[in-house]
Amino acid sequence: MRYHPLTDADRSEMLAKIGAAGVEELFADMPAEALLHDALDLPRGKSELEVERVMSAFAARNIAASRAPFFVGAGAYRHHVPASVDHLIQRSEFLTSYTPYQPEISQGTLQYLFEFQTQVALLTGMEVANASMYDGSTACAEAVLMAHRLTKRRKAILSGGLHPHYADVVRTVSKLADDDVVSLAPDVYAQENLLDAIDAGVSCVVVQSPDFFGNPRDLRALAQACHRCGALLIGVFTEAVSLGLLTPPGAFGADIVVGEGQSIGNALAFGGPYVGLFATREEFLRQMPGRVSGETVDADGRRAYVLTLSAREQHIRRDKATSNICTNSGLCALAFTIHLSLLGETGLRRLARVNHASAVLLAEALARVANVEMLNDAFFNEFTLRVTGDAAEIVEKMAARGVLAGVPVSRLLPRLGLDDLLLVASTETNTAEDRAAFVAALEGAL
């Protein structure tokens, strides 16, 4: 086996040193009846060439985004990632290192996490950020738990514009932790009245912008209403690139901001691994979940970084910890931070403008299509269409015509009478030809 350096001669010598006649003796504590004697019903090992063949056959049965005009979003977005990003994250020292428990020989990881935290804080308009969570949805659930700890209340209000998967994750955790959740009805036009839902028992209000249906939201009044009642405002985003063009939740007065960082630096990868971004106010730091890298000095007085505030964490506090999270999303955070440092403010703003322009141009082209209604007044790079008929069927028909058209809302929100709604995203990867193909395929499918 190409990955196993020990030879049979080595094994014999090692057994002699141990004083065992065979490896079986080392497993003597295992119940004899539990030891496997027969081979498992699984194939034997394969060469690199054979593994490539088998795996490529699985991959070939999928239609990659690059093979079709592609407009699918709803929480994961296709962007161009510079080649240098993937090269750098594959450096052995980043790829094959562990969580930086020994800071003297982990300064590379600790420094980029410090830089990542700073970028996330700037991007979200917040004071501090952690070193990443699994993804946006789990970061959202953690934010709700954090709000409960801070307010000593246990009731969350979820906007009807929150990504349905995010709402599901919050509801799952809340149900099993015996906390209360009030979920507002799906809010296609961003017209819900969240203010009336807030009372003195509410811990937090969770609002996404741009929301699931693509509407950017002004959260100022909501933040004030939350604060008047002693509740916290949790701002959520699923498209990080939007923050290059839209006012961030932090500037509206949000107390915790969470979101999905996949859009910057990370591939679609069928939904994971992604990187959860988590930012908050400095005063709430000690209730924040997850790892953080902090600045300090070494014994020679040189600037250095170290995992800090670990008194919040499970390996120290066990059942009193702020979260059970251990492994986070280090390498995806690295991809995010490299891509964002390549973009810089100039590049990010321009990328965001190109995304918005791409969606605006598509919207303008769709305005000329019969039996299609554009539901958004405002949007970033994604909007909702009302089509005549079942959006899921239309998407299938368009796929058959070689266009991956978007996400039928009913896929995430079934049985609510939203079958005629279609979410369409357009990014810098879409060309004028793609948009024309979309319009033609849609007209053909309607």
Binding site: R11, M14, I18, D29, I105, K175, E295, K320, L412
Partner: protein, 511 residues
């Protein structure tokens, strides 16, 4: 056995090297922060401004400067390459972090995960366009079930701790379905458990009852019997445990817990010791997470991403989270909604860590059933070889007996030297090694938990052993001051961790 590497050349008496103008020391280069070298008007990504268009942002444009510096590509390459060189890595050396399983990460797996048919597909594409992805998930599930002899698998958990949460959520739902939610609210956990176990239990409102281990480092059936009662929802037991020992009473413990109406959650962090050798389902467990980033070698990436699928027994299977794959005729369907099922619901957006599934699957295909078994056997053999080679110098908290894939030492042998486990670990850094896991598990005083994995050659193990013996002898000779000063040959000396925690500086603020 090697005493010293053959290329060893005695150095002149050590002194602190003279300061340099740059602060660099040859290849050991200092690197400023991104915020000190980047500029707001620089970008490393060429993007054309869009043609004039009418924005539709609803008056919510971001007006104020964000403050994000940019680097052009050569600057970015240099910044991150220099940072990378301050990290230790498996590719550069033995990384004996017990309980973390730092084994070789095959590059084939990286290549295959980047095939556009895996990396460039969207989780919400029509299911007809991603049948290969669903087939791969089905294949991964088949392997995990065959290796564990369990009934079902939840693939979506994002890491080990998320898998623990998944298992406990499944158990809590099963208990509620039995109408016992109000009364069964205790989880039994031994002191040696990973901190994630009690943290996961507490997150769901369970209270934790600690089960004591015996003097031999394992949990005995009698102790479990004494702790059991009608209020017990589950036991969480790591097997092999965090002392590197196999929980001998596991079959009896599983029987007792089941008889009392509880469920057995096995923490599978150490499954890499027994994969292909024994199947946890045969022990009588109900749920176990499998860290794909440990047993199946998806890269640790400086702290993630991981992936923590959970295998379930027949009696827990109905409550597993969505989504899951279901074969229907010639096709495979992804079930994304819990309505109409007994599933407890969804615990993450989308479908799990596909990028880790592809890497783990490539690893499994490469090894096959025979290779996985060999990997487990070699991992256990290597740990025992280290144990046998160091047992005359270092002390073991539970006596000298065969271990599994990791060997646990304590600090009894350092008593009176003025040298702590931390000092010893830092001295290893100067010798070019990443230290072992230290001060965990908590049941061993000054714990040093060494996991070599199956990836090390005998020569590599021999040099590691010779190095630890030499350090041990120096410690016992009374060279305490040298240990207190260590590390001296790392990019940084010891850090002021108290300062970091007392006055947290978690972001750059300029100046």
């Amino acid at each position: 056995m090697l005493d010293q590497p053959t290329h060893f050349v005695a150095a002149p008496d050590e002194e602190t090297p003279p300061a340099t103008f740059t602060g660099n020391r040859g290849l050991d280069q200092e690197e400023p922060l991104l915020f000190e070298i980047g500029r707001l008007d620089v970008t490393g990504v060429d993007i054309d401004e869009p043609e004039p268009f009418t924005p539709r942002l609803g008056g919510l444009e971001r007006v104020d400067p964000i403050g994000l510096p940019g680097l052009c590509e050569p600057e970015a390459m240099r910044h991150y390459v220099r940072l990378s060189r301050k990290n230790y890595s498996i590719d550069a050396g033995l990384y004996p972090l017990g309980s973390c399983t730092m084994k070789h990460n095959p590059r084939l797996n990286e290549k295959l995960a980047r095939l556009e048919g895996f990396a460039d597909i969207h989780p919400l594409q029509p299911q007809s366009t991603i049948q290969g992805a669903l087939a791969l998930m089905e294949e991964l599930a088949r392997w995990l079930l065959a290796l564990t002899n369990m009934s079902a698998v939840a693939l979506s958990p994002k890491a080990g701790a998320h898998g623990e949460l998944c298992g406990l959520m499944t158990i809590k739902t099963a208990i509620a379905a039995r109408g016992e939610a109000a009364t069964r609210n205790v989880v039994l956990i031994p002191q040696s458990a990973h901190g994630t176990n009690p943290a996961s239990a507490a997150l769901l409102g369970f209270s934790v009852r600690v089960v004591a281990a015996g003097d031999d480092g394992i949990v005995h059936a009698d102790a479990v019997r004494a702790a059991l009662g009608p209020d017990v929802a589950a036991i969480m037991l790591t097997n092999p445990n965090t002392c590197g020992l196999f929980e001998r009473d596991i079959v009896e413990i599983a029987r007792l817990v089941r008889e009392e109406g509880g469920y057995f959650y096995c923490d599978g962090a150490n499954f890499n010791a027994i994969a292909g050798v024994a199947r946890p389902g045969d022990f009588g467990i109900d749920a176990m997470h499998i860290n794909l980033h440990k047993t199946f070698s998806t890269p640790h990436g400086g702290g993630g991403p991981g992936s923590g699928p959970v295998v379930l027994s027949e009696r827990l299977a109905p409550y597993a989270p969505v989504p899951f794959v279901l074969r229907e005729g010639a096709g495979i369907r992804l079930v994304e909604h819990a309505e109409g099922t007994e599933s407890f619901g969804r615990m993450t957006a989308f479908h799990g860590q596909m990028g880790m599934f592809t890497r783990a699957m490539a690893y499994m295909f490469s090894h096959g059933a025979d290779g996985l078994r060999q990997a487990s056997r070699d991992a256990v053999l290597s740990a025992n070889y280290i144990r046998a080679s160091l047992r005359d110098v270092m002390t073991q908290p539970f006596g000298d007996r065969p271990c599994m894939h990791e060997v646990l030492f304590d600090d009894a042998w350092l008593r009176g030297t003025g040298i702590t486990t931390l000092d010893f670990a830092k001295a290893m850094i100067d010798e070019g090694y990443h230290p072992m896991t230290i001060y965990f598990p908590l049941v061993a005083h000054g714990a040093m938990l060494i996991e070599p994995t199956e990836s090390e050659s005998k020569a590599s193990l021999d040099l590691f052993i010779a190095t630890l013996r030499d350090l041990g002898e120096r410690a016992l000779r009374g060279e305490a001051e040298a240990f207190h000063q260590a590390p001296r040959h790392a990019p940084r000396r010891r850090l002021d961790e108290t300062l970091a925690a007392r006055k947290p500086v978690l972001r750059w603020r300029g100046g």
